[in-house]
């Protein structure tokens, strides 16, 4: 215990008396922290933009067309499959989901959106947080994700105009916004939900598709009576319903085009930033220890143990790293206040905490070599007595 107090005394005194130098290092750590936290937030934001709708589904399994490799865009199911899925024992409910992209043109700047078709009250249709659900049939009504409202001035009760290319012509359709849902981004775009029949009418489609009035769902969201039986129910569905394959939400998310690659890229960036941080901090503390060799020699010659010298270096590194991470965290928070909602930055508690924990580790990891070096300094050589 005495050693810890002595080491802390030396470490803190040195930091305070050389605060300019240590503040500079803390600022470097703060910038690394800013970068790492932003990368973590960007990773979360991009992931959310891609998976949010699927991740928030009130369902445990997703049914795809057989051999579609769990790809939502590649899957197109026959309408009778919905009923077949609902009949399977253990399925509480099932709702079709229809996906497409379009843009709202009744704004000063057109806004690209995902337009999803879903049945009100069925799995696939999110919970309404404001307003009401759309009516069925071909009602020209839509429910919008709050992200749409955040990026435009659209309110419940407003009429929006969307543009869809059907065949070789651009067609314009009006929809009345009747409700709002929350956190439903899909494929990096904010989302509006419409009834399936409306979706079929107004979605972008090729010349060949124009002759059909039947909407074919991409996937079916399946809610189970017993959510813990997802694996066995997945097998049962495939056994009992023809021409389908089934996956849980995690598999579905991982197979969203580009999701895994994108997350892998962001995570690699984060890891490399941490590695650079380790090298920068390690380099600084190593240079500092080299400059302090005679001083450490004196400390040892007058009776300081290796423990005190080593602990002092460790405490100093921890203090400077913690200061840098604290400043960096504060800077990140301040910067985040100024970012528009179009930039996908989401400060998720878990991701940020993991990033902060890793950042707090880079100091001691980077300084490891210098700590070992400090402990191994021989006073005789340091003082040039030998």
């Amino acid at each position: 215990m005495k050693n810890i107090f002595l080491a802390a005394y030396l470490a803190v005194k040195e930091v305070i008396r050389n605060r300019g130098r240590f503040l500079l290092v803390a600022l470097v750590i703060a910038l690394i922290t800013l970068l790492v936290l932003f990368i973590a937030a960007l990773g979360e934001g991009l992931a959310n933009g891609n998976r949010q709708y699927v991740a928030n589904l009130d369902a445990q399994l997703i049914v795809f067309l057989e051999k579609s490799d769990y790809s939502i865009s590649a899957s197109r199911l026959e309408t009778n499959i919905i009923k077949a899925v609902r009949r399977v024992d253990g399925v509480a409910d099932a709702g079709p989901i229809y996906t497409s992209n379009t843009e709202i043109v009744s704004l000063p700047e057109p806004l690209k959106i995902s337009m999803l078709g879903a049945e009100a009250g069925r799995p696939g249709m999110p919970v309404i947080v404001e307003g009401r659900d759309f009516r069925g049939g071909e009602a020209r009504e839509a429910v919008m994700d709050r992200n749409v409202a955040l990026r435009s001035d659209i309110k419940i009760g407003d009429t929006i105009e969307i543009r869809s290319t059907q065949g070789t012509n651009d067609k314009f359709f009006e929809l009345v916004i009747v409700g709002m849902v929350e956190g439903q981004s899909y494929f990096f775009q904010p989302t509006i939900f419409v009834p399936p029949a409306t979706w079929e009418k107004i979605r972008p489609q090729s010349e060949a598709e124009l002759n059909s009035d039947t909407p074919f769902p991409n996937i079916i969201a399946v809610k189970l009576t017993d959510p813990t039986q997802a694996d066995s129910m997945s097998t049962r569905l495939v056994d009992e319903v023809a021409n389908i394959e089934s996956a849980n939400l995690e598999t579905t998310i991982n197979n969203i085009p580009g999701y895994s690659a994108q997350q892998g890229t962001v995570q690699t960036q984060g890891v490399f930033t941490l590695l650079i941080g380790i090298l920068v901090i390690g380099g600084f503390f190593q240079i500092q220890i080299l400059q302090k060799v005679p001083q450490i020699g004196v400390l040892k010659a007058i009776g300081s143990s290796n423990g005190v010298v080593g602990l002092s270096a460790v405490i100093q590194i921890i203090v400077v790293t913690a200061l840098g991470v604290g400043i960096g965290g504060g800077m990140t928070y301040l910067f985040s206040l100024g970012f528009p909602p179009t930039i996908p930055l989401v400060f998720n508690g878990t991701r940020s905490l993991i990033a902060v924990a890793l950042l707090l580790l880079i100091g001691p990891l980077g300084g490891m070599v210098s700590i070992i070096y400090a402990v191994r300094i021989e006073p005789l050589k340091a003082l040039r007595l030998g």
Partner: protein, 243 residues
Amino acid sequence: MSSVALEVRDLVKSFSLDGTTINAVDGVSFQVRSGEFVALVGPSGSGKTTMLSILAALLTPTDGQVLIDGQDLAQMNEKKRVKLRREKIGFTFQSNNLIPYLTARENVEFMLRLNNKLNRAGRVRSDELLARLGLADRLHNLPAQMSGGQQQRVAIARALIHNPAVVLADEPTASLDTARAFQVVETFAHLIHENGRAGIMVTHDLRMCQFVDRVLQMQDGKLVRVYESKQEIRELAQGVLKH
């Protein structure tokens, strides 16, 4: 009669260089009593720095004994040597003496901290010692804010504050001008005598010998001559005697 604080018996320190064994210290024996200030002189390569390193428990002897306050250095492991350095030895070096980020007072008090003896009485004693060394107005100065002589005086205070049995000084005047060098060594000698410590100073500058009680002259690792009479020491210091 004062007690023996330091005793060296048939001390040998050998180094191996290109297959040849060199005795840097070769069968040296002497004693230093409490309250006695001794100079260790000799040309470069005579073995005096090696001797000082052994006395400071920084180097292990090849053969022989070094007893500090009755404890044999040769029998100690590294942990015990660190403890001995902390408790029984005071040390001043040629340069880089002080911890640069501690003030004069903190540098002196650090020895008390190391020995778990920093209390109100220790703080008072530390301030008094610095005041006696003419540093009363420099207590809160960092080493970089003090002259070389002032730094050496702080180092002397640090070497004495914890009442060590032996105080060692390695060329304490090497980086000082003549006037300051005399002042520092005179103060050092005075405090050694007053506090009843055994002091050993390694020096090249024979003029500094005028303040010591005995001069041990080394050459080729051996103790070749001991100057004990005041007359001899004065003549050596004045350059009358050829050493």
